[in-house]
């Protein structure tokens, strides 16, 4: 880490290190807000503000990537906790109608995506963190705020569910 671009209020974090993981963090932020790009951008900016101000202080106890993922996760949780109860009913209705439309319009290879979306939230999160964000199960569990054992259980169940769903769909298609 170059000292010159270390943050004033967060000496163990540098601008270049954040830049290196920007894409991964954006992907994580995007899936935190149901793939709404504007909200994800805002979440990213807010996470960087937390790091700049030192409200979220990195002390080298984990990797920077795990830490920034946790910051995004916590920000998303606190942001959506306030409005989730109001939005839940609307979202449920939207998802029902959207999934009906999506099933008709999505290309065949999006079956994988549908299988992922059908997973419970925690299983989906750990699959994303391990498969797409290249974290270990231990790191993913830390980001999600669960124990490593619980993380492993979610991971195994998610893999089993995905395999069986993908197999079912491939049989249906053939």
């Amino acid at each position: 880490m170059r000292d010159s671009d270390a943050l004033e209020n967060n000496p163990h974090v540098s601008r270049s290190a954040l830049e290196a993981i920007h894409g991964q963090v954006y992907g994580w932020a995007l899936s935190r807000c149901d793939f709404d790009h504007a909200t994800a951008e805002d979440l990213m900016q807010q996470a960087y503000v937390e790091l700049l101000s030192g409200s979220a202080r990195f002390d080298n106890k984990s990797t920077l990537k795990t830490f920034v993922f946790s910051v995004v996760q916590n920000l998303a949780r606190s942001r959506f906790r306030r409005i989730s109860s109001r939005l839940r009913l609307v979202k449920q209705y939207q998802q029902e109608s959207a999934s009906a439309v999506a099933q008709m319009s999505e290309p065949v290879d999006d079956g994988v995506w549908r299988a992922v979306r059908a997973l419970p939230a925690r299983q989906r999160d750990i699959i994303e963190l391990v498969f797409c964000r290249e974290l270990t199960i231990e790191q993913a569990a830390a980001v999600m705020g669960v124990s490593t054992g619980t993380g492993r259980v979610h991971y195994d169940r998610a893999k089993k569910a995905l395999r069986s769903r993908l197999q079912d769909w491939s049989e249906e298609e053939s």
Binding site: L18, H22, G23, H37, Q45, L52, D109, V116, K159, L162
Partner: protein, 119 residues
């Protein structure tokens, strides 16, 4: 098992990447906005701290202006010349005045025990 895991991983990361990579904002832009938001936040905090300090100064000033209870000190000579004494400026003390020759002897001459000791 390893092969199927790798295949699943590849399928999923490909499906995920399609939804993420197309509109990823450039780091520089996000960083710049974050910096300006941070600067705005600091300005707001500074302004708030300034207003709080001014308000505190006004309250203290008004309090000092409206206070009519001038602090006074016990004059030893004055006290010795008179048999009459009252608490000088302490507004918290009860408004009790006594004549030392009328009231005090009751206490001095008391032989009533209180809690095993004489008063």
């Amino acid at each position: 098992m390893k092969d199927t895991d790798d295949k699943l991983r590849e399928q999923i990361s490909r499906a995920w990447a399609r939804r993420v990579s197309d509109r990823q904002p450039p780091f520089d832009k996000t960083w710049q906005i974050a910096q300006s938001r941070h600067a705005a936040l600091r300005r707001r905090y500074r302004r708030f701290a300034g207003v709080a300090a001014i308000a505190a100064a006004i309250v203290i000033g008004l309090n000092a202006l409206t206070s009519t209870d001038e602090p006074t000190y016990i004059e030893v000579a004055e006290l010795l010349e008179s048999t009459y004494w009252s608490a000088p400026s302490d507004v918290l003390l009860p408004d009790r005045e006594f004549d030392i020759y009328q009231d005090m002897p009751v206490l001095f001459e008391s032989t009533e025990p209180a809690g095993g000791a004489l008063l």
